[in-house]
């Protein structure tokens, strides 16, 4: 459910590429689908880790994840120039969130490609989740207690 809400809230923004409109019909409550299926349907939106291990056949979780990745990538592309022209706390926290999520999902693909075996996959993804959590926490801490990401980049480059 969380995945649907997230995509729904982002689709209100400007500059949405045409490929996203194809996924718009998917943004309907999952409860309506349950009656149509004979097999048990796992709630894949509980935790977003390794949707392929949780989802039953016919689930749209992987597809939604893919779309989510592209949306975040495009969002990050947009944030760059905006952060340059309008630095400040809003941009700092937005950058922290989008950067961490983009990195988390990106590293997740690397894990999926190179790590095999159920136990090792679970271990790697847990480690990745911890890393991303600490990264986000650290960036937020930096934004709150220190100069913030935008100012830090400006200072670093003025060296």
């Amino acid at each position: 459910m969380a995945a649907l809400v997230r995509i729904g809230s982002v689709c209100r923004g400007p500059a949405v590429p045409s490929l996203l409109f194809r996924s718009a019909p998917l943004i309907r409550p999952l409860a309506a689908r349950k009656k149509d299926q004979d097999y048990p349907y796992f709630c894949t939106a509980k935790i977003h880790a390794t949707p392929s291990n949780y989802a039953a056949a016919g689930s749209k979780a992987a597809s939604l994840h893919w779309t989510g990745e592209r949306i975040v990538s495009i969002a990050l592309l947009g944030l760059g120039p905006v952060a340059y022209f309008y630095p400040g706390p809003v941009m700092d926290y937005s950058l922290a969130a989008v950067l961490t999520l983009h990195g988390h999902w990106g590293l997740g693909q690397v894990v999926t490609d190179y790590v095999h075996g159920d136990a090792k996959i679970k271990l790697a993804n847990t480690g990745l989740f911890l890393l991303s959590a600490v990264t986000f926490a650290g960036l937020c801490y930096f934004n709150y207690h220190d100069v913030g990401i935008c100012k830090a980049v400006a200072l670093l480059w003025s060296k």
């Binding site: 490929l19 097999y39 392929s52 592209r70 990264t135 650290g138 220190d146 100069v147 830090a152 480059w157």
Partner: protein, 140 residues
């Protein structure tokens, strides 16, 4: 009900591990191409940038001083202009490459530019843009 794709993939790896099969030579013998090299560079720059951000975040949590404090510390070490320029380039290059190649990936995701000549053409464009942008950012 049949097996899922995930189950089939797991079975493949489990069987090969169980039979102790050696892996066929692949990246050690396959001829490198520009798209191939650019693809792994995209992954490499992504992992490196992610790692760098994580290191920065952990440092922010662990180190006692403030960011300007550590910047002044580095200032006081009086690195030569060559080293400073090199460091700026070393930071700009992965960001520029990953960004431009990322846009190339998004174009592919939209279904465009997938013909082989187009792949090579967009690839060279990304390399050119990356070099120009990195040099421009370094000079800033």
């Amino acid at each position: 009900m049949g097996t899922s794709a995930q189950e089939e993939m797991n079975k493949f790896w489990a069987k090969n591990t169980r039979l102790n099969r050696p892996m066929s030579p692949h990246i050690s013998i396959y001829r490198w191409s520009v798209p191939m090299a650019m693809s792994i560079t995209h992954r490499g720059t992504g992992v490196a940038l992610s790692g760098g951000i994580s290191v920065f975040a952990v440092a922010a949590l662990v180190l006692p001083g403030s960011f300007p404090h550590y910047l002044d510390l580095i200032h006081s070490l009086s690195f030569g202009p060559a080293l400073i320029t090199l460091s700026k380039f070393a930071l700009s290059f992965p960001v520029a490459y990953h960004t431009f190649n990322g846009i190339r990936h998004l174009v592919w995701d939209a279904g465009k530019g997938l013909k082989i000549p187009e792949v090579y053409g967009s690839g060279y464009t990304v390399i050119a843009l990356t070099l120009l942008t990195s040099l421009a950012l370094t000079a800033l």
